[in-house]
Amino acid sequence: MSETPDRHSADSSDNRLEEDIEHVDASTDPGLAEALAQDRAREEGDQESDDQRWQDAFRRIISGGWAVSLGAILLAVIAGSLMIIVTDEAVQEASAYFFTRPADTFAAVGEAVGGAYSALFQGAVYNFRADTFAAGIRPLTQTLNNATPLIAAGLGVAIAFRAGLLNIGGQGQMLMSAAAAGWVGFGVTGLPFPIHLILALVAGILAGALWAGIAGLLKARTGAHEVIVTIMLNYVALYLLSYFLATPGLMQAPGSANPKTPPTPESAQLPPLLGERYTLHWGFILALVAVAVVWWILNRSAVGFSYRAVGENPRAARVAGIDVSRSTVSVMLVAGALVGLAGVTQVLGTVTTGFGADIDAGIGFDAITVALLGNSNPIGVLGAGILFGAFKAGGSAMQAAEGIPIEIVLVVQSLIVLFIAAPPLVRAVFRLPQPGGKPRKKRSQAARKEAAA
């Protein structure tokens, strides 16, 4: 009874409201036009003097996206350092007599933070204590190995994001793809090496695609919000896989009571990339191929153009003759396939001794941060994936060497994304100039609103 009036108003205003906002947005354009005109005038003026042009270039660099990304990383690392400092025992002891001998505190702070970052670097890039170069470089291969699923899943989130969809379902898609690939891996026997591997790869990627496709289909057919659907599908996948794993005869390793699968046989494993000495496997190459393919799809193909068009403005895309429902379903299929690749490389390359329901290792959620840090473009995702892979590798080394829990990596990663998503905040902290020139594509809306305000 209580909700009749407001439901009615919701019913009638739903569509009209959106149109209203659209309409009002258009009417703010005078403000935008004015800002642009001022800008153009400023740019013309700038061209007169060589000196000013350099200043302008510099201003553009520090007001651009890269400066914000760098600032965000710096802020997050500072926050991480603070966490290390306040929990470090030596610092706590020294700070007890801070006012008598402050130098002790600073020394302890330096030691705690320095030790942590040195461990992080040595765990992620190059281990100076190793005897040979081959052993010293091992952390870097571990970083790339960690980056493999992050890149693949990050691409899956990024491509959906470009089409205006938020794919929170990485976890579920990875679990289903891992289940399918794993099942083909240990369930099918007697196939020779490359065929078995390819079969498992395809099965896993298909499973991921279909699982994400459910979300796409529901979104296209019923308008169900993809975020809610993908979150729910995560849990459905988790319990489905748990059931498979706990049931003898389905996926549980024979003769075991643990919810764990049998190991992946050699014939279905991704071979090591740099020889048996390193863990890095061919999955990394697959991830690089995926980067190239996604770049091609987004920038060179008609399908990719329709994705981007739908992402920028679904109504305009529909008017232009793009089938929005179809592109929603197809982009979710592609996104699921990419996340599926992440699940597959885990099962067939990284964890070949049998896996449990935690095979996704939080990568589905990390992928969201990777995609955001990479600004949803494939090259950016590659870089962000490697950076987060390095954090992961270095974080474990830091935990082992300095006793700093690896969860600090989660904190730093999430802070990076939080800051990157709010450029005005980062600019305010570092007193960077607000963007004056052409606003970047992704931030144009925010910039427009600021211009209007």
Binding site: L17, T87, H225, I228, M232, L410
Partner: protein, 431 residues
């Protein structure tokens, strides 16, 4: 399934002629499908023996016997009752009336009893009805508070994916504050403040900096998991005695009422956090639908520009809504460490925030319905616990999956259409 589901909302749509109220067949179809599945289950997996239901606890006024029912016979009788109610629903729909609520209620109860009789058949142990219902209430506490937090936030126009992090932050802070002061009340208060702070962060980023609300929510979840786990292993674990062992709220049995069989131990022998639950549900409902504050809040969530035009401070209203929502969510978080057990554990909320989110959607953004959905999901979770005790044939994973599947159907419009507030997820900029 395709034609009637899309636009057959039970209230008349604007396209229909004015006098006609469209009554959809959706309810009848849903009842028929569920009954068919249930009958299929009975046919394909018949079970021997009888089921034992125990209803009494030793302190009741009078003792009820342990009822021993023949499993399959009871199950089929219940199926017959449900079939009769299905007929009632079909007749009502044909007469252009809605399926009466009592019919749906009795239908659900009949199938539940039948299912329990089937599942517990042949088990030597008693199926404790008190344990089933009492446990369900306990498990649903964080879900109900969490879903209320979601309702308040989303009615004001901000998607709150961060319920999970509010619960976790609340649990952590309640553990620390409660242990330091030895007072569960301080723990509860601290949990509310901590979760409100999470809400504040959400507000700053989504309202002031206009960042995508879902992204902020997801990131906040990761951030709070990271922070709590970090400080848990570095600070709480070495100092368990001083920082991580709380005094819990005592159970407060209500005199006389607590000795009524079944109802007493389930409803009237609980802690203060549980007693507060219906009060908070009522307050949120009253606040949202009967006060000026609620009207403004909903206006801001439906059509912020119109609200702004008549002089409502949109941003301030949204900020305030998220802070209050956070505080309510924190009460649910406190449940983990000052009611349920007396310690914080790494990631101890284990996805309850997402079930709360599901409950909010299933409850169609209405506090009362969301709370009922929370109870239902809590019941489903506890049903799985109880059935594993009596040794049921249903894999526990499928019971645990239930809330999420139900929500999937709900958002897809198969079980009543869930419509979010119109201005959800859109940041507002004053002209």
């Amino acid at each position: 399934m395709s034609a009637p589901t899309v636009d057959g909302a039970p209230t008349g749509t604007s396209d229909a002629p004015r006098t006609v109220t469209t009554v959809s067949w959706k309810t009848s179809i849903a009842l028929a499908v569920v009954l068919a599945l249930y009958a299929l289950l009975l046919l394909l997996a018949p079970r021997e023996g009888s089921a034992r239901f125990s209803l009494s606890t030793p302190t009741d006024f009078f003792q009820l016997p342990v009822y021993v029912l023949p499993g399959m016979a009871t199950a089929w009788v219940c199926a017959a009752v449900a079939a009769a109610l299905l007929v009632v629903s079909v007749v009502a729909t044909r007469a252009q009336r809605r399926t009466p609520l009592w019919a749906t209620g009795v239908y659900a109860a009949a199938l539940l009893v039948g299912f329990l009789a089937w599942a517990a058949a042949g088990s030597p142990r008693d199926l404790s009805v008190v344990g089933l219902l009492g446990g369900a209430i306990a498990l649903s506490v964080p879900l109900v508070y969490g879903s209320l937090s979601g309702v308040i936030g989303e009615r004001s126009g901000t998607i709150n994916i961060a319920i999970e992090s509010q619960l976790l932050a609340g649990a952590f802070t309640a553990a620390v504050a409660g242990s330091l002061t030895n007072s569960p009340w301080v723990g509860l208060l601290a949990a509310m403040i901590a979760a409100a702070l999470v809400g504040l962060v959400l507000a700053v980023f989504t309202i002031t900096y206009r960042v995508n609300q879902i992204i902020v929510g997801v990131v906040l979840n990761v951030l709070v998991i990271g922070l709590t786990s970090f400080f848990y292993s570095l600070v709480l674990v070495p100092n368990t005695e001083t920082l991580n062992s709380t005094t819990r709220f005592e159970q407060i049995p209500i005199p006389f009422l607590e000795r009524i069989p079944v109802v007493g131990p389930v409803l009237f022998d609980q802690t203060i956090v549980v007693y507060l639950m219906p009060v908070v549900v009522f307050l949120v409902w009253y606040g949202l639908f009967r006060t000026r504050w609620g009207l403004r809040l909903r206006a801001v969530g439906e059509h912020p520009r119109a609200a702004d035009t008549v002089g409502i401070e949109v941003l301030r209203t949204r900020y305030r809504a998220l802070l209050i929502a956070g505080a309510v969510g924190g009460m649910g978080g406190a449940f983990y460490t000052v009611v349920s057990i007396n310690q914080f554990g790494r990631e101890m909320t284990a996805g309850a925030g997402f079930i709360a989110l599901a409950a909010m959607i299933f409850g169609k953004w209405n506090p009362v319905r969301a709370a009922l959905a929370g109870l239902l999901f809590g019941f489903a979770t506890n049903l799985q616990n109880v059935l594993s005790v009596v040794g049921s044939p249903v894999p526990s994973q499928f019971m645990l999956m239930l809330p999420y599947v139900v929500t999937l159907f709900a958002v897809a419009g198969l079980v009543g259409r869930s419509r979010p507030p119109a201005a959800l997820a859109t940041p507002y900029t004053k002209e």
